[in-house]
């Protein structure tokens, strides 16, 4: 008789309360584990990305022997800044419904001599936030100029070597910028606060989803439809939360790109090799930041 009972071991023989609490605990663990594994996978991918980046850095480092490490870092940082600049430019342009550079606008663009002309052309082409676009373009130019002035050793290399290093740094920046976990490299670009806030926001979203998911599971005890409805609510909440985190991050990154920083220290005049017109000269501050177009005597 005893033997039969043992062989027919079923759920009914377990203390129902114990069984139920055990199941609830297991399910809660499943949910939290599912969320934490998601997080881990992000971290893992982040680690993998970091590894790729460090390997890439090594490759770049090996590619150029004799080049100052700081120049290499500046080159990588510069490429990243350009990526960020282009992204902000795209966002600024996307604010306009219809941008169209027709033949007349193109002609005017070619003959534009100063910022005011450029502003008129942009507005003619349907860019309402022309000043914002010009500021972003200026900021990109400022970064280019800063790189040129601060990395003279880079320009002493052969054009082939320069192209090779630039390509490697662009590839590095592309991987960094398109990476799901962009935080360590972007900290160099835009300050650590943006990345930290983004990380925290996404962490909060996952935590909120975990709590909501636990609620959905318990609600499913009352019926499949209540459970599904709550689960759908959790999904929508997480979607909005992630979207908000991304939007805040983008705004945080783009904010310092929109305006040219105030000049500091003594101004330096720079002119291109073919400085025929006044527009070919510009000034930078003591930090190498672009200040404005130079209109005085050369």
């Amino acid at each position: 008789m005893k033997k039969t009972r043992n062989s027919d071991f079923s759920l009914n023989q377990i203390n129902p309360k114990l069984f139920m609490f055990g199941l609830i605990a297991v399910m809660t663990l499943i949910i939290f584990y599912s969320c934490s594994t998601g997080d881990e996978s992000i971290n893992k991918s982040g680690k993998a990305e970091t590894k790729t980046k460090s390997e890439k850095n090594k490759t770049i480092g090996n590619a150029e022997i004799g080049l100052d490490n700081s120049v290499q870092e500046n080159l990588n940082s510069y490429s990243e800044q350009i990526f960020v600049g282009v992204e902000s430019l795209e966002i600024a342009l996307n604010k306009n419904i219809d941008v169209d550079f027709n033949a007349q606008a193109m002609q005017m663009l070619e003959t534009a001599e100063d910022e005011y002309d450029l502003k008129i052309v942009f507005e003619m082409a349907g860019i309402a936030n022309s000043q914002e676009v010009i500021n972003i373009l200026k900021s990109i130019v400022a970064k280019q100029q800063a790189f040129i002035t601060q990395n003279s050793s880079f320009y002493s290399l052969t054009p082939e070597k320069q192209a090779e290093l630039l390509n490697a740094s662009i590839e590095f920046a592309r991987i960094t910028y398109n990476s799901p976990v962009l935080f360590p490299p972007l900290e160099q670009v835009s300050g650590s606060s943006c990345a930290r806030t983004f990380n925290n926001s996404r962490g909060d979203c996952i935590e909120d989803f975990a709590v909501c998911a636990a609620g959905a599971i318990y609600a499913a005890g009352g019926g499949i439809w209540p459970g599904l409805v709550v689960a759908a609510g959790c999904m929508a909440m997480k979607y909005f939360c992630d979207k908000r985190a991304k939007r805040d991050y983008k705004e945080c990154v783009i904010m310092p790109m929109g305006t040219v920083p105030p000049p500091t220290g003594e101004l330096t005049i720079h002119c291109t090799a073919f400085a025929i017109e006044e527009d070919s000269c510009w000034t930078t501050d003591s930090n190498g930041k672009y200040v404005g177009r130079y209109t005085g005597p050369k």
Binding site: V211, V229, K238, C241
Partner: protein, 108 residues
């Protein structure tokens, strides 16, 4: 006269209970809860977590009591409602896992 009023009240009470049973179902409550959750997450994101914690405090004891009742009923009537509830919870756990993967936005 008193009996007539008592009759009217009893009749009203009967209709009220019928209406409650008809409209206030677990699905409608869940729907309303989800709607409020989405609205809070859109309008007042900072309060989402408090709403969730408050909901969990209410949902967990209710669900546990409900499951205990189901288990008792199963023992008395020989039904399998408790088992069905557990299966539903497991299914929803998998659905949630799928939802979590769907809403992952690993791009900028």
């Amino acid at each position: 006269m008193v009996n007539m009023w008592e009759g009217i009240l009893a009749q009203n009470n009967f209709y009220f209970k019928k209406m409650v049973k008809k409209y206030i179902t677990p699905t409608s409550i869940s729907f309303l809860w989800s709607l409020i959750l989405i609205l809070i997450s859109l309008l007042y994101p900072g309060y989402t977590r408090y709403y969730l914690y408050l909901s969990i405090i209410v949902i967990i004891p209710t669900a546990i009591i409900s499951l205990i009742k189901q288990r008792r009923q199963d023992k008395l009537n020989g039904t399998t409602t408790f088992q069905a509830s557990i299966y539903r919870m497991l299914i929803i756990a998998f659905v949630l896992l799928a939802f979590f993967i769907i809403t992952k936005q690993n791009y900028m």
